[in-house]
Symmetry: D2
């Protein structure tokens, strides 16, 4: 399904975890230049990545952290196993839930509530206070739950994103019913390998690393590859590799850009250390936090070290 038809080849086009009316659509709206581009809503992270591989879209917008739409694990696992995917940007979306119903429905009438299984427990507090006896009908997305209200009578209301109201002719029974008012979801823009986003001084570099062996201490050794170059981590998250219990890969976000000397050298260290390192990309941070210097690890410091090495190797 297309939100809008891009009118020219060569222009970027976007697949996003749909349907329309979900939080991912709010992330898409943050992408510079996406407004007039072709956008394609898909059913799963896997389908979004398939679109990229097949050339149906040039970029995909998918959730990666604290997702409401079911994204996190699916995304992390897909990134680890799909070859040649790069991240080009990240976007933070506040998570606000509304309770929608067909026009004319009163709160007291609500017995069955449709929504995605991960959204439902995030409204547990409000539901216990306001609709203590209601039942949950699982839906494949919050937007599908909203859309379903207009298609059948299986549910009386739907919990969905604020953007759902733009797409479906529904009434809002209650606003902002999520228990955590500060919740947000992080989305990423991915595509095939291509020119790296330019370093901005407030960048992130994402990699996936497998540990070489089961012996103790290898996680410590892996972290030392970053520490020895003064590179800070903003996130480290383990995920089972999936072939058997007890084997993990680590999703890591580091401060800085792969074109920075410190990050580049840390990555070559990982490459030697690990049986498998996947480079996911370097891109501007959504929060625009500048990389703090950490010891003498600026490009200038690296250049001075390299010049010194060249000198002592020359025998002069």
């Amino acid at each position: 399904m297309s939100l809008h038809l891009g009118n020219a080849s060569g222009k970027p086009s976007y697949s996003f975890l749909g349907p329309v009316g979900t939080f991912t659509e709010l992330a898409l709206k943050q992408v510079a230049g996406a407004k007039s581009a072709k956008a394609r809503a898909v059913d799963s992270v896997a389908e979004a990545l398939d679109d990229i591989a097949a050339g149906r879209s040039t970029r995909a917008i998918i959730p990666v952290e604290n997702s409401i739409e079911g994204g996190v694990s699916a995304t992390l696992d897909a990134l680890a196993t799909t070859s040649d995917i790069r991240i080009y940007g990240e976007y933070l979306v506040p998570v606000n839930f509304n309770l929608y119903a067909r026009k004319g429905t009163k709160l007291a009438d609500v017995k069955v509530i449709a929504t995605h299984p991960t959204a439902y427990p995030q409204c547990r507090g409000w539901l216990a206070a306001n609709l203590p006896g209601a039942k949950h009908l699982p839906a494949t997305s919050t937007a599908a739950a909203a859309a379903g209200l207009l298609e059948n009578n299986l549910a009386d209301a739907a919990i969905a994103a604020v953007t759902a109201g733009d797409h479906y002719d529904l009434a809002v029974l209650a606003k902002n019913i999520g228990d955590n008012k500060h919740a947000q979801t992080r989305f990423i823009q991915v595509g095939l390998p291509g020119a790296l986003p330019k370093p901005t001084g407030a960048d992130k570099t994402s990699v996936i690393v497998e540990l070489p062996t089961d012996r103790p201490g290898t996680l410590l050794e892996m972290l030392e590859q970053f520490a020895a170059r003064g590179v800070n981590l903003t996130r480290i998250e383990s995920r089972p590799i999936g072939d058997r219990l007890g084997r993990y890969r680590f999703n890591i976000d580091a401060e800085g850009h792969v074109l920075d000397d410190a990050v580049g050298e840390a990555l070559t260290g990982l490459h030697r250390f690990s049986p498998k390192v996947v480079f996911l990309g370097s891109y501007p941070r959504a929060d625009k936090v500048q990389t703090k210097p950490n010891g003498n690890n600026s490009n200038k410091d690296f250049a001075a070290g390299d010049a010194w090495l060249k000198h002592i190797r020359s025998g002069r």
Copy 2:
């Protein structure tokens, strides 16, 4: 809902992530003494833990790793935020999926397949090869999907655990359709704090640890608390704390028992280091792997060190 009514007070009783016919029921069957005990199927991990807190059950069986029934994140987050919960055992269950249908249904007739959203993608390969055009109808559990076949016609078939066949009068259209033949799920038995399981030499100790600050290197420092006492980790998994992006807690399984000197001292080190450590328990490993010695860290080595310290402190 009760599988079986225990006939005596004082006896253990079990809540488990239901409904009957799920993988959790297979874990329950591994629990020594659970056969004749009262067992209560519940809808969520949260409900199982509520049962423990309220005294409706003495123990709960819940999935913790590589879950099919939607357990992992829910369990890890519930363990981190529920006070006074202890793990008493762990159980490994092979993950085998069957395709069930109402009697008389042929494979060629299957257009809509009900199952839990996490089970569906695990059968993607078999479905693409055998039922390429089929649609997914999400259900709250694999067992609910199977049960639904007998209640309405929304779906033509259901993907469910082998144990589902014991509970519902359904035909098996295909056996063992999961893409990963070695998949398994790890379950834990939890309850209120009580006498610790005795050390067996093949034990695990589980804790949840928050890092003290955002400064780089704190993860390394936390790992050193284990390394300095020769304690190996079998699992480390980060989970967002949830108050805002960028803050994590670490779910850690370490080799050994809290009654071992090495583990005990490592835990006091964590207690000083971290603003929050949750002790989840020490219990026999499901895989019965003995703790390998790692340097001089046996109880005997600790006793020798303590005797030496006492001697030098005495001024003799």
Copy 3:
């Protein structure tokens, strides 16, 4: 040889690296209560330690760091191989050299200068500027060099400590001729094991540690035994063990007192880690610098950790 005869048994008596007139005598003068005590000048660190073992003295004053009198290596090696020696205090002595001669000698007459081989190069700058052609006559100590002037004519002048002038009837040709005006020597007071000096909050603990094997990383592991308990080092100095090249022991001074929980636990960690740990003592720092807190490692923090461990082990 006795400086002064103590008049009572039970009183402390001191051996010190002599002869009288050396820097060690200045250290002895800093020892509380040593003024009226029996003091015995000896020829070597080994002789001083022999006096302790044989009961000829209760305490010995010997140089340990940056020594002028030839002490460092001899002391470090003697401490490593003598059993049952404890340090009870440390003393800092500024190193000031004077040039002494027989009365009537003029600077221009000085052709041969007697002094200890380690003192001579410390005055190289002054000598090059003022006595460029002079020759060095080695002596067993700076004081012996001064004394020798009165006994024979082998040398025209002697480089010796300012205290030498108190003992020998000599003229001062030049004052403070050392090249480094901030030089000082650290001395220690040692004796047989006995009641430990009380913790003052500004203490040092000295140990000697052998590494367990030649494999790389063991030095890192040893340092982690201190780091994991938040114990800072003020000195680490390697010395060859002496049985063959390539094997070292480490002389370590750590902040804090062995009666502090953090230091005590770090020492038991060393005891398990190392094939040989020698405890040399805990004593007040000469510079009176208070131990800075380093993470949560106060006795109070340790007590809280121990109480928590007791609680979780109890099964309540």
Copy 4:
């Protein structure tokens, strides 16, 4: 003083810690091509280095570890403070002491024994057993002690190296009287910067490193610069910097050659980390022990990592 006059300019010439008849002369004899070269015996390590700086010799042979001739500290400190010195080779010399006397002297006649202050205590055991009442007369070197026997009657015997017998017309009263029969001294060949010795696969790289600050943990961080590149250390020895107590520089010998990628990168890491790194050279090990691989840190592994980095940076 010259042992032998080289007859051609352009040929190497050697200063060595003299006089003739010391252990250093035995080291000189191990130097390939030194046999027919001009050799100059000097009085001190400082003088040897002055010869290099002034062009009086092209190379110097000086003791560096476990020295008998008084070398270690002097050498280490001179290397740290002299600019533009490089090590070109190392040599191991067994330490065997003989007791020399004027012809006709009997063992029973020996009352005064001349030798270098560091040699005397190394024969303590033999002296206690065989000459219990003898006195020590310090000499500036073991060879000077031997030579002195022929010049005056201050001593009855001299403890000196076996090579002393080649130069002085003396009788051997006792052979091999050192307490440690396995003692050896390590010597180095130094010169001005020039073409590096070629990597042999059994090389050492020597550096001197100052720690950046007094804060705890900097030694650990320094060691991580080696560990992160899989470079093993064969020696680490601290020496006071000398400006005040409590500041140290570290003399480090690492396995491998500065032309090895792993060593080169470790050195640039040190250069960024430390306020002062002195590169002393890369040269073949005297013991010819091949560098053992330590993780994936061969030049091939480094090249693979660099190629990968180039690839991911290219945006392809």
